[in-house]
């Protein structure tokens, strides 16, 4: 059996998560069978998770599974990473820059990063869509949106 078998690591991750759930349920208190406590369902759900994780592990050992490399071979694996980084950066700056500025910047970045759209198309889309969204949310649905340090929007 290969050590980079993804099924094996899925099973192990499941096992670790299950152990945490069992422990959490136990510390919350099981109560008794005629008066179950806050951790009762969580504890037993965790035990079931251990069982299913063991089945995944058994099947990984018996039948093998794809390797990490094979799952990311021939794909543009950097793209999801960049998108995640952009989303986190956007969320960090959302309240500081305000809804309009941050969404325009995010949209320009996404339009240019995922599969580059020409600047002549990307800029109008990146400005118009957040503007329409801002108008619908703020003016029509009366949802409060952050205007940021610059007070735009």
């Amino acid at each position: 059996m290969r050590i980079d078998n993804t099924e094996l690591w899925s099973g192990l991750a499941g096992l670790a998560l299950s152990a945490f759930v069992v422990w959490s349920g136990y510390t919350l208190g099981l109560g008794s069978i005629n008066d179950p406590g806050s951790g009762y369902v969580m504890f037993y759900a965790g035990l079931l998770m251990i069982l299913f994780s063991l089945i995944i592990l058994y099947s990984a050992i018996k039948d093998g599974g794809p390797t990490f490399l094979s799952l990311w071979r021939n794909v543009l694996w950097t793209k999801p990473l960049i998108v995640i980084a952009l989303l986190i950066a956007f969320t960090l700056l959302f309240e500081t820059l305000g809804f309009l500025v941050s969404t325009i910047i995010l949209l320009i970045a996404l339009l240019r990063v995922i599969d580059p759209v020409a600047w002549s198309r990307a800029i109008p889309i990146a400005i118009l869509v957040p503007l329409v969204a801002w108008y619908v949310l703020q003016k029509l649905l009366l949802i409060q949106l952050p205007s940021g340090a610059f007070g735009i929007g």
Binding site: S10, K79, P80, L87, T103, L106, P116, A133, I143
Partner: protein
Amino acid sequence: METLNLVAQGFGVALQPINLLHCFIGVFIGTLVGVLPGIGPVSAMSLLLPVTLAGTPESGIIMMAGIYYGAMYGGSTTSILVNIPGEAASVVTCIDGHQMAKQGRAGPALGISALGSFIAGTFAIILLMLIAPRLAEIAIAFGPAEYFSLMVLGLVMLTFLTQGSMAKALLMACLGLVLGLVGLDSINAQPRLTFGSIHFIDGIGIVPLVMGLFGVAEVLYNTEQSLKREVVSANISNMFPNKDDWKRSAGPIGRGTVLGFFLGVLPGGGAVVSTFASYALEKRLSSYPERFGKGVIEGVAGPEAANNAAAGGAFIPLMTLGIPPNVVMALLLGAFIIHGLQPGPLMIAQNPKLFWGIIASMYIGNLMLLVLNLPLIGMWVRLLKLPYNVLFPLILLFTIIGVYASGNNVFDIYVMIFFGITGYFMRKFGFEPAPLVLAFVLGPLLENNLRKALILSQGDLATFLQRPISAACLIIAVGLLLSPMLPTIRKKREVVALDSEAS
């Protein structure tokens, strides 16, 4: 006579201008998300969940329901013209629908799909109208044991029908159950898995969870692939099927309707599995099964009727028992709860205007969909030409807006990103998100009913087996859990297994 009076009362509600507008918005958005691959009814409904707060419960729920059955219509357009299912319930339509389009018969394929959907959708509403009130009367006698066992059956059935390893699906269901318990214990207000953060006191929001697992994860997964589309647009002016097409489609539409409706009612079943079942049935009954897959109209008519009938049938467990049979209905349950309503056996009696208003709106919505999908087909074809590199950034932006608008809280966006990353890895490693989401919604209900049942029976576990409905549900659930050990059933399960957005 009493039913007719109630239906008339329902039309009185559905025909109010504001409700007509919401119905139109719902079916329009439903068709839109059905047409666009990568965003399905689950994402659209969670995105619009906060918007329903602005109006009355009737208008909000009419709109949400419209998105669901509207997506069933729209999904077929993409399947037929692009050979990519617009949403999971249209996977089967690709097989013969796209072949028909390549042979220059895109018009009849789209036409029979819309007309078959309309017939099946209307029939399903009539059945829903006749069955739901009767079932609600019976469901009043249900106790916590029955509810608990029904929910267990629903979860087991969904995991049984989920693609890939059943152990993985069950692990996801358990994880969803645990995630659903995060927050204050409803009985003694003890905080659970909150990690000392006030953000988790009310639990994890369904909107960021669903948008992350379905919306963001879908985009992340697709950005690493080079997706190219070829849209068949020739010869779609003649939409009406000819006499021979009708003759060959009548049987499949009829059978697909009945099959779809009853599979839709089953907890854990739904639109996707009904399409596979209908296709398999038509192929088996056909005198020329070898032509299936090469562009026969029966392969489009049956599954399309089935998924629309199933969409109608899925309302029965939610409306009569308060148990959502699939992820979409779980979101609809969320919409009811947002408005302080609890669907279940008493809802039809206590809120007849709401129930009959929704039913009547579904009749009207089906008519609207016929107009949207026959004369206005050109509009959807143009939309299909929207490139992915523009579509994906827009989907991401709308998910962020939807999540922020649902709670006016930046923390929810972090939660969505977390579940987006989780969902991406889940897809990579072959874990389906549907059992997780359904268990997440059912989690608190399941726990509550289990604890109540144990308290009422003074800890006697036999209570679950002494009550016939509860015992039957548990026996079926155990049967389904053990059945993959039998090779013949395992093979059949692989054939009907659901796609990623199993709703």
